[in-house]
């Protein structure tokens, strides 16, 4: 399409994506603990979420749906002091040991999640599971590293993996992905260049004839867009491959032979968003 997104815009996209990933993981960490009977982590998670949402609101204007990306760049450049604020936030808050102590040090949590709903890696692959659910099985598949997009190739991305693929490992991966994201944010802060965040667009953006598939690593797994164009002003076909749709397919396998009380811990550990399933 001959539209080149400026470097700074790409770095900022990464930055916002990582913050957003942390938002998502905090949400699921809080809710999963809540489903297993622990209320406190939810409050902690929302405390951190609030800080991050403030931060992102200052840049994007939105709290939940940022709509920050645009064709050719970003809606607007970062506000002054964003990086400093973000750096401070990344330094202390979400990666604090609260969650690790609170949840991972809890015997009840261990008892309810360890060995519950194990997912072998081959089954996970055949089902098409991605994201932390796949990484919990021991496979370090993450499109940020296996097929780097944006500037992920220039930085060091940590992919936490589990061993048994059970509910504990899934939660564990999710928790450690927060740390990995904070690590990435630090690196982005070091790398982010100056420059424009937008490119001059032609009057009418037309996708050239043909088809393309782009996949990104979303918080819950791989999100793919298949875009087919006939060269016109509107795309001919657009197909989304959403992570939750594929991940949820693993639930029947995970449920088989398990105890009924474990259904909660299995369902919660396959992190999914319903709106992501039915689009």
């Amino acid at each position: 399409m001959e539209i080149e997104v400026p470097d700074r815009a790409q770095w900022i996209r990464m930055l916002i994506a990582e913050w957003n990933r942390i938002l998502n993981h905090l949400m699921f960490i809080g809710s999963y603990a809540l489903e297993l009977g622990a209320i406190t982590p939810m409050f902690y998670a929302f405390r951190e979420r609030e800080d991050i949402q403030h931060l992102l609101e200052s840049a994007t204007g939105g709290r939940l749906h940022f709509t920050y990306n645009q064709v050719g760049g970003l809606k607007i450049d970062l506000p002054k002091g964003f990086l400093r604020l973000g750096g401070g936030l990344a330094g202390h808050a979400p990666g604090s040991a609260d969650y690790f102590d609170l949840v991972l040090g809890n015997e009840i949590f261990h008892g309810r999640t360890k060995g519950v709903g194990p997912l072998p890696p081959d089954v996970a692959l055949s089902i098409g599971v991605t994201g932390p659910t796949l990484q919990a099985t021991g496979l370090p598949e993450d499109s940020r590293v296996t097929e780097p997009y944006l500037k992920y190739g220039e930085i060091d991305v940590e992919v936490p993996v589990g061993e048994n693929g059970d509910a504990f490992d899934r939660f564990y991966c999710l928790l450690h992905r927060i740390r990995a994201s904070l690590d990435i944010i630090d690196q982005i802060h070091d790398h982010i260049p100056a420059g424009p965040v937008n490119t001059k667009l032609p009057k009418m953006v037309k996708a050239p004839e043909g088809a393309t598939y782009v996949r990104t690593e979303n918080p819950l797994g791989q999100l793919g867009y298949w875009l087919e164009s006939d060269g016109g002003r509107t795309p001919w076909r657009l197909k989304m491959r959403t992570p939750s749709f594929s991940n949820v397919q693993a639930i029947p396998y995970l449920m088989r032979g398990q105890l009924l009380p474990d259904a909660i811990s299995i369902l919660g550990s396959v992190f999914f968003v319903v709106g992501d399933i039915d689009r």
Binding site: S126, V161, A180, G224, Q249
Partner: protein, 542 residues
């Protein structure tokens, strides 16, 4: 605390063989005739839901799939394949695409391909969508695209073999329990379009009462002889009223060729719409106003003259007299539209030959009953008599005035009179009938229509909508609040404020206060000021 260290991703790791629908299946062209994929290897379990999604959206079959039905992404009885290009959204038919340009499809030469789109193909979540679509189709009928079938064989193949729909058999409404009953699950749930007959020959003229209103009306429009050949009927209905009603039906059915008789009622308003340029609802309202005027004048004249015999024959709660009136009304088809003889029963069109037994009940048990039922039921409800003493139950002499241009509404399915003669547009009440909230036979009658109107919240013309006012007709002073709620059309009544219709009209005509007048005053004072201004204006006028 067992903390595991996060293992770093090692760069030597190649991309693992992800199961992103990697089986190389030749893609089936949706537009082509073939709509099945070659069997895909079942090595990837994750393909199952993907294939289900494809089936839901495109209707592509995957042999060997453990189960494509029921659909997972749509409602289970959804008809049609929403992501196909020939699928037309009903809301798009009613309202054009709000974007800059409608996505178009170009062929090899760059010409725009006009797909033949079936508007009825779009089962919206509610029938309202369909009604809107029909209205839109009626108002701005698009020119039929002239596409040679040789130019694009793929296109022709795509449009010709439409999916063989097997609609749920319509269960005729059997009147065991009068009143609010559901019309049966099959009837209420049918979202899709009604099946059209393949040809005229496939439609069997049945001995029972067919969907006769279009034919009957057409005949009346031509000024043909009244179809009163009662000896021509074949079966023996149980009820004399039904017998009367059946007779003209048969006569008409015999005269009209089957192709014409099979004409769908949806297509009717296009040809028979009275005034195409006027909004049908406006036209209907005007017509209703005229009728109400005539009826009121007649009632006044009757009251003055004391026409005892007519009133005596018009006891609205008497089923026997109702039946007698049906006797009188039916043979004189010169009266523009008899209200009675439309039975609540599916037309022969609806009974597709695929399911003969389920769709057609025996003629003896169900057919005569619906014919007699609307009359009795309407009489029981007293719907005509509520608003107009001695209304529809009158004999032909009195019935002509208010029956002018009024046709009986039919049996749901978009065949209600208002839709047919172009007087109602997309009526929401169709939805109610489909859902079973209103029994189908209740479509006729003014009381029902009034209820529909209330439901639609259209401002009723000329009178305020408080029924107590209509009953008492007590001329009380208008107030600001009255005019406000009447004008806004909200259904809430303001207690204590009764409004007489002429007063309301005056109030509407009266000038408003100047904007600075009464501003900042307490509302009572503002109201008083407004009233004073109106009084002054009235004095000036007189």
């Amino acid at each position: 605390m067992p903390v595991r260290t996060a293992s770093r991703w090692w760069p030597s790791c190649t991309r693992p063989p992800l199961a992103t629908a990697s089986h190389s299946v030749p893609v089936a062209r949706v537009g082509a005739r073939r709509r099945r994929c070659p069997p895909s290897p079942r090595s990837t379990a994750g393909a199952e839901w993907m294939e289900r999604e494809t089936y839901d959206m495109f209707g592509i079959d995957f042999p060997g799939h453990p189960g494509l039905e029921p659909r997972i992404l749509t409602v289970e009885n959804f008809e049609g394949w929403p992501l196909r290009k020939d699928f037309h959204l009903a809301s798009r038919a009613a309202k054009p695409w709000p974007g800059v340009a409608e996505p178009v499809e170009l062929d090899e030469e760059g010409n725009k391909i006009e797909r033949e789109r079936a508007i009825g193909d779009a089962p919206g979540p509610y029938e309202l969508d369909k009604a809107m679509a029909e209205q839109a189709k009626r108002v701005n009928a698009p020119p039929t695209p002239a596409v040679e079938p040789e130019a694009e064989p793929v296109e022709a193949a795509a449009s010709q073999p439409r999916r063989q729909r097997s609609p749920p058999p319509l269960v005729p409404w059997t009147p065991q329990t009068p009143g609010r009953t559901r019309a049966g699950p099959a009837a209420t749930r049918q979202h899709g379009p009604r099946p059209r007959p393949r040809s005229g020959a496939s439609v069997r003229p049945r001995p029972g009462p067919p969907r006769l209103a279009p034919a009957l009306r057409r005949q009346q429009a031509e000024g043909g002889p009244p179809p009163a050949d009662e000896a021509a009927q074949g079966d023996a209905p149980a009820d004399p009223a039904a017998e009367q009603a059946d007779a003209p039906a048969e006569a008409v059915e015999a005269e009209v060729p089957p192709a014409a008789a099979a004409e769908q009622p949806e297509a009717e308003p296009v040809s028979a719409g009275e005034d195409e340029d006027v909004d049908p609802r406006v036209a209907a309202r005007r017509k209703r106003q005229a009728e109400a005027r005539a009826a009121r004048a007649k009632a006044r004249a009757d009251k003055a003259g004391g026409a005892g015999d007519a009133i005596g024959s018009a006891g609205p709660t008497d089923a026997a007299s109702e039946q007698g009136s049906a006797d009188a009304a039916v043979p004189t088809a010169a009266a523009p539209s008899p209200v009675e003889p439309r039975p609540a029963e599916p037309s022969p069109v609806e009974a597709s030959p695929a399911e003969p037994t389920a769709a057609e009940p025996g003629p003896a048990e169900t057919r005569p009953a619906p014919t007699a039922e609307p009359a009795a039921d309407r009489a029981r409800r007293g719907a005509p008599g509520r608003r107009r003493p001695g209304g529809a139950g009158q004999g032909q002499g009195r019935g002509t005035a208010q029956a002018t241009g009024r046709t009986a509404c039919g049996q749901g399915q978009g065949a209600c009179g208002a839709v047919r003669d172009g007087r109602g547009g997309g009526r929401v009440s169709d939805l109610d009938v489909r859902r079973g909230a209103v029994p189908r036979r209740h479509r006729a009658g003014r009381g029902h229509r009034a209820r529909d109107q209330r439901r639609r919240r259209l401002p009723r013309p000329r009178t305020c909508r408080c029924r107590s006012v209509r009953r008492t007709r007590r001329p009380t002073a208008c107030s600001a609040s009255c005019s406000r709620w009447t004008a806004s059309g909200s259904a809430t009544r303001v207690p204590g404020h009764r409004l007489h219709a002429p007063r309301l009209r005056e109030a509407r005509r009266a000038p408003r206060l100047p904007p600075d007048h009464g501003a900042g005053q307490p509302p009572r004072l503002a109201v008083r000021l407004l009233q004073r201004a109106r009084r002054r204006a009235r004095g000036r006028a007189s």
